[in-house]
């Protein structure tokens, strides 16, 4: 497997990172280790959920994004954003004012990705007729799709083979613009992402050849730009851009947004650690019959996306109020004849499992390694302190059998070896520096960390 092949939106700023271990402890796939004083992400294991970025007290994680000036290469500049973008703004701003600011910024067309969400729901229901596996698992959240691929390979067949709302919106926008006379190569589609997972999904889609989106914009960055440009009063009527938006569409990215619309026996779970617990049970056949499962990596769905500004619960509250003002999806008329064409484009490829947790392709070697892990675990203190640069004792033992770590990486064992004079003090100190970086332990009153950060 080529470790560089997989694209990830999350990166570590090694100037800011000081190896505090917050991210390493919270990562749901144990993808982070501390090496030379900074966090290093394992490309194969990372699912781009963004919990590391959320947990970081030093702002050391960042997401890669496209330069906004790239939009000027296109005659027709379309901005696509999920409804949660609107939900971040205080009630004193109307959606019209926000739309005006987007036009001011240089976009010519504005589409919220959830219009016309009815087509996507129809398409998902079509799929339920084609697939025998139950429950169907929504493909909405790319962090969840990647989590299932690597941690729950037996469940990949349950994932709905349909693309996400931003693909729907992109194809819909292109068809709308073409109808108005635009040429396809003059259209630039820019998607405003609420999280690292969607960014990675756009740049390297899991179940499609290549993404229809031209560029990805960081939602936090756009929020700041809009706040600078937002007019004090509405000067024009932008409601035409929102004529296909429905109540269900606005709520789509929030918890129960999909499942409430799918009806039948459906369930919704948000928060990746909650999802992990549930998928464990699902894999063991410990859950009752369910038709449709909506899983979202962030607590409160996309309102809790790592690139949103403000409080997720306030965002949900505002969106619920906003949704109540919009018509139901069944009452929204879409005068676009391209419905069948767009629906066809929403069909995604099959999602294949990725066996990243396999110890060895050779089974007898894998068993040997497992035995070794058990033997090593007998020696380790079982405190999961992270002093070795791995998230817990078990992870360190796994790293050891893979040849990526050694017994002396454990600070407790190292002390024991020092006492038994099996290791020299200079060697022991060098070992620590290898994990935590040079001069990490020298007195420094301005040192980062250990100051109740995050409280």
């Amino acid at each position: 497997m080529n470790n560089n092949k997989k694209y990830h939106a999350l990166k570590v700023d090694t100037q800011k990172c000081f190896g505090c271990t917050h991210c390493m402890k919270i990562c749901p796939t144990e993808a982070i280790r501390i090496v030379n004083g900074v966090a290093v992400i394992d490309n194969q294991r990372c699912v781009d959920c963004g919990n590391c970025l959320r947990a970081c007290p030093a702002d050391a994680f960042y997401v890669e994004q496209d330069d906004l000036s790239k939009i000027n290469n296109y005659k027709h500049r379309v901005v696509l954003f999920p409804s949660v973008f609107i939900g971040q703004f205080s009630e004193i701003y109307s959606e019209g004012q926000i739309y005006e600011a987007l036009l001011e910024l240089g976009f010519t067309h504005i589409f919220e990705v959830e219009q016309p969400a009815g087509w996507l729901m129809e398409s998902i229901k079509d799929f339920s007729g084609e697939n025998i596996h139950r429950p169907l698992i929504s493909s909405f959240c790319p962090a969840i799709v990647r989590l299932i691929q690597c941690k729950y390979p037996s469940l990949t067949a349950h994932i709905v083979r349909r693309k996400a709302p931003h693909d729907l919106a992109a194809h819909f926008a292109i068809e709308q613009l073409k109808k108005e006379g635009a040429k396809e190569d003059e259209i630039g589609i820019f998607y405003v992402s609420p999280c690292s997972a969607k960014m990675a999904a756009v740049n390297q889609p899991v179940a499609e050849k290549e993404s229809i989106v031209t560029g990805v914009i960081n939602m936090k960055d756009l929020y700041n730009r809009i706040m600078k440009l937002i007019p004090t009063k509405e000067k024009m009527d932008t409601s035409g851009f929102r004529r296909h938006l429905s109540r269900e569409g606005i709520l789509w990215s929030l918890p129960r947004g999909e499942s409430a619309w799918y009806r039948k026996k459906s369930m919704a779970i948000d928060g990746i650690h909650n999802v992990v617990k549930f998928l464990e049970r699902l894999e063991n056949d410990e859950v009752p019959e369910i038709d449709f499962l909506e899983l979202k990596s962030c607590s409160e769905g996309c309102a809790g996306g790592i690139l949103l500004t403000g409080n997720r619960f306030l965002t949900v509250e505002r969106l619920q109020k906003r949704a109540a003002r919009y018509p139901k999806a069944a009452q929204v008329e879409v005068e676009n004849a391209a419905k069948e064409l767009v629906k066809k484009k929403l069909v995604a490829d099959e999602i294949k499992p990725e066996h990243v947790f396999v110890l060895d392709q050779n089974r007898s070697k894998a068993i040997e390694k497992l035995q070794k892990i058990n033997d090593i675990l007998c020696q380790l203190p079982g405190l999961d302190c992270g002093g070795c640069g791995a998230p817990n004792c078990h992870a360190l033992a796994e790293d050891m059998v893979k040849g990526k770590a050694k017994m002396t990486d454990c600070v407790f064992l190292q002390n024991k070896y020092l006492q038994e004079q099996k290791v020299k003090p200079e060697k022991a100190y060098k070992n620590l520096e290898k994990i935590w970086g040079k001069q990490r332990f020298e007195a420094d009153c301005n040192k980062k960390g250990g100051r109740n950060e995050g409280f």
Partner: protein
């Protein structure tokens, strides 16, 4: 070569039933066993765990994960099974009202274990306990 995994189960402790099957599952995944087979094993172990929680006073699970198969031995000290043939029947259950109210005891346990395994042996002494041993080939 085989890996041995051991777990204990307390009678009545339904909240911890599932721990052994989850741990065994993790190990099987690390060995790259086919997902379908893993599922069968996990379902069988889980049913056996629930059986101990529902009927016995205490018990333990011993799994031997080998190169070609996994052998699981679940033994308990408990009331034993009076009529094994009847207990194997789908829908037959001696579970108490309390256990049924918790959503267990539908009488599918042993039948489900049989369906998901390649070999099954039940040894039981009334008033002493039961040992259920089963094997699955990869």
């Amino acid at each position: 070569m085989a890996i041995e995994l051991n777990f204990t189960i307390e009678g009545g402790d339904f909240s911890n039933a599932g721990k052994a099957s989850s741990k065994i599952k993790k190990v099987l995944k690390q060995l790259n066993i086919e997902a379908k087979i893993i599922k069968k094993i996990v379902v069988a172990v889980y049913e056996a765990e629930v059986n101990v929680a529902a009927h016995a006073y205490s018990g333990n699970v011993k799994a031997l994960v080998g190169e070609n198969d996994v052998v699981v031995m679940v033994s308990d000290s408990g009331p034993g099974i009076e009529n094994v043939e009847l207990a194997m029947k789908e829908g037959y259950s001696t579970a108490s009202k309390e256990v049924r109210e918790m959503g267990f005891g539908a009488g599918m346990g042993l039948a489900n274990i049989k369906r998901n395994t390649d070999e099954l042996k039940i040894e039981t002494t009334v008033g002493e306990g039961t040992t259920v041993t089963f094997r699955c080939f990869y």
